[in-house]
């Protein structure tokens, strides 16, 4: 047992030290997805921009909300949701997608999790351009709360990491899990306040608050809009982060050595 936990910690430490590698691989992943296209990763930006524009016009009429208010809200929520959704869906494929590398080089496994997480953050950075354009058009205020974006993104990065380790290990052992999560996330997009506001639920607002993703959205979306996130959102996200890290660590200690056989 002693041996297993030492090797888990040295894996994490070794993975952290190889930052030059996973930064590069993360960037190459982002770049290569749009290989040989003129716009490259800017397709990400363009796709999100068009999506938001189409949705924004219709839904603002449906909800009877002012366009200047609804557009920034929708954009901020939508790009954050894309980050969260990819973290879950791609997280469950972290190790199964890297079978070739895992089988031929003695790399720390955490390298693959760092690589995926940084790639997701790079994708978010590209989508952020859409929000910046929207914010400039509709004059979203920049306040002291805008700064809360940075601790929020750090929290999201840590969550990407543990989710990729934990879901990645479960996903490589049970190949159905990644598909189940895709289905679940496809449903959650409708029950999470992204295109609608939690306040619209009125007395049934608790439904939104019971959904952990509401809080994950809030710690990024509110700062983007120059508003203060609710304290409860930070509490919930921090609590899930701590529990998630512990679960990931326990699983990693126990099954790290099996991953090479499962992929």
């Amino acid at each position: 047992m002693e041996n297993k936990s030492t090797s888990a910690y040295s894996d994490i430490l070794g993975g952290t030290r190889m930052w030059a590698l996973w930064m590069r691989l993360g960037w190459e992943d982002t770049k290569l997805r749009y290989r040989r296209s003129v716009l490259g990763p800017l397709w990400l930006t363009l796709g999100t921009g068009l999506m938001v524009m189409g949705m924004g016009f219709i839904w603002s009429i449906l909800w009877g909300m002012k366009i200047s208010e609804y557009f920034p809200y929708l954009t901020a929520g939508f790009i954050t949701w894309q980050l969260i959704m990819s973290a879950v869906s791609e997280g469950a494929r972290t190790y199964s997608d890297q079978a070739g590398l895992i089988h031929s080089l003695p790399l720390p496994l955490t390298v693959h999790s760092f690589r995926l997480s940084i790639k997701l953050m790079m994708g978010f950075a590209h989508n952020l351009l859409v929000f910046i354009v929207v914010a400039l058009i509709f004059q979203v205020p920049v306040t002291i709360w805008t700064l809360a974006l940075f601790p929020g993104l750090i929290l999201i990065y840590v969550n990407c990491l543990w989710a990729s380790i934990l879901l990645g290990m479960i996903g490589v052992r049970y190949r159905d899990v990644a598909n189940i999560l895709d289905v679940v996330m496809g449903l959650l997009v409708f029950v999470t306040p992204i295109v609608w506001r939690a306040e619209m639920l009125g007395s049934k607002r608790i439904i939104a608050n019971l959904n952990p993703f509401t809080h994950y959205l809030s710690i990024i979306r509110s700062p983007l809009l120059g508003q203060a996130p609710e304290t409860m959102s930070y509490v919930v996200v921090l609590a899930i982060t701590v529990v998630g890290c512990i679960l990931a660590l326990i699983t990693f200690k126990r099954y790290r050595g099996r991953v090479a056989f499962w992929v």
Binding site: N3, S7, M18, A20, L21, R24, L25, E28, L32, R35, R36, G100, L101, I102, H103, S104, L105, P106, L107, R173, Y174, R175, D176, V177, I180, R256, G257, R258, A260, F261, W262
Partner: protein, 248 residues
């Protein structure tokens, strides 16, 4: 001083097909109260290595021989740290480098230079080390202007040359090689052999798995015959090869 020690190592592969890989069977198990357990719960397990013990020291060049599936590659991967043994332990002292599946990690849409950095970093070298090795790689691969083109435009032989040059850019203490001379034209094979020979001089311990007895004879001062995951014989190259040929 480099050394490599294998102490009573056993490695078992679970064969996870769709049946055992999926959650469905676990759930069916719950529903039927374990009736299907025999079929769903237990994956087929292959024992790839069994009770392997040996020790190598400075100057040992070990040839690994045996039929397909005898455990040669599994042994190399276990020694490299890719597989964790179920029982027993591997003790390594010295920098380890592998020449296993040398093409892994090469990305067709990146050019030769980008791939050199990519693979270099994957193998744990820092930027400075890679930059220092660049002229040597350029010279060895003989790719010239092609290095600035995406590697998907390379012929299979060119790809092998590049992969091989990147994989051999260091001078490790312990070198694990799995059948690397198989690909490429005669000219490349000759060059590759010379390059490995250079490494053989600087590396202190080498393991070479090969189906070519000539190659083993040329390089190795010790030999190990594996059969179904067990060490059948271990000792002087000629003796072991003789036994191998007799058995075959």
């Amino acid at each position: 001083m480099a050394f490599l020690k294998c102490d009573n190592v056993t490695v078992q592969y679970p064969v996870l097909d769709a049946r055992s890989l999926s959650l469905r069977n676990r759930i069916v198990n719950l529903g039927t109260g374990g009736v299907l357990e025999k079929e769903a719960g237990s994956a087929i397990i292959i024992t790839a290595l069994k009770n392997i013990s040996f020790e190598l020291n400075d100057g040992d060049i070990l040839g690994l021989v045996g039929h397909n599936g005898s455990g040669k590659t599994t042994l190399l991967k276990t020694l490299a740290g890719i597989f964790e043994p179920d029982v027993g332990s591997v003790i390594r002292n010295g920098e380890v480098a592998t020449l296993l599946d040398i093409g892994t990690g090469i990305e067709g849409d990146l050019n030769g230079y980008e791939n050199i950095y990519r693979i270099g970093l994957l193998r744990g070298f820092d930027r400075r080390k890679i930059e220092a090795a660049l002229p040597e790689i350029e010279e060895f691969t003989d790719l010239g202007g092609y290095l600035s083109l995406p590697t998907r435009t390379y012929s299979a032989g060119m790809k092998t040359r590049l992969a091989f040059a990147i994989a051999t850019m260091t001078r490790p203490d312990i070198l694990l090689i799995d059948e690397v001379f198989a690909a490429g034209d005669a000219n490349f094979q000759e060059k590759a052999r010379r390059r490995v020979e250079e490494q053989l001089i600087s590396a202190k311990i080498i393991l070479l798995a090969s189906h070519s007895n000539d190659l083993i004879r040329l390089f190795c001062n010790k030999c190990m015959l594996l059969d179904k995951g067990l060490i059948r014989s271990f000792g002087e190259t000629e003796d072991v090869l003789e036994q191998y040929q007799k058995g075959a």
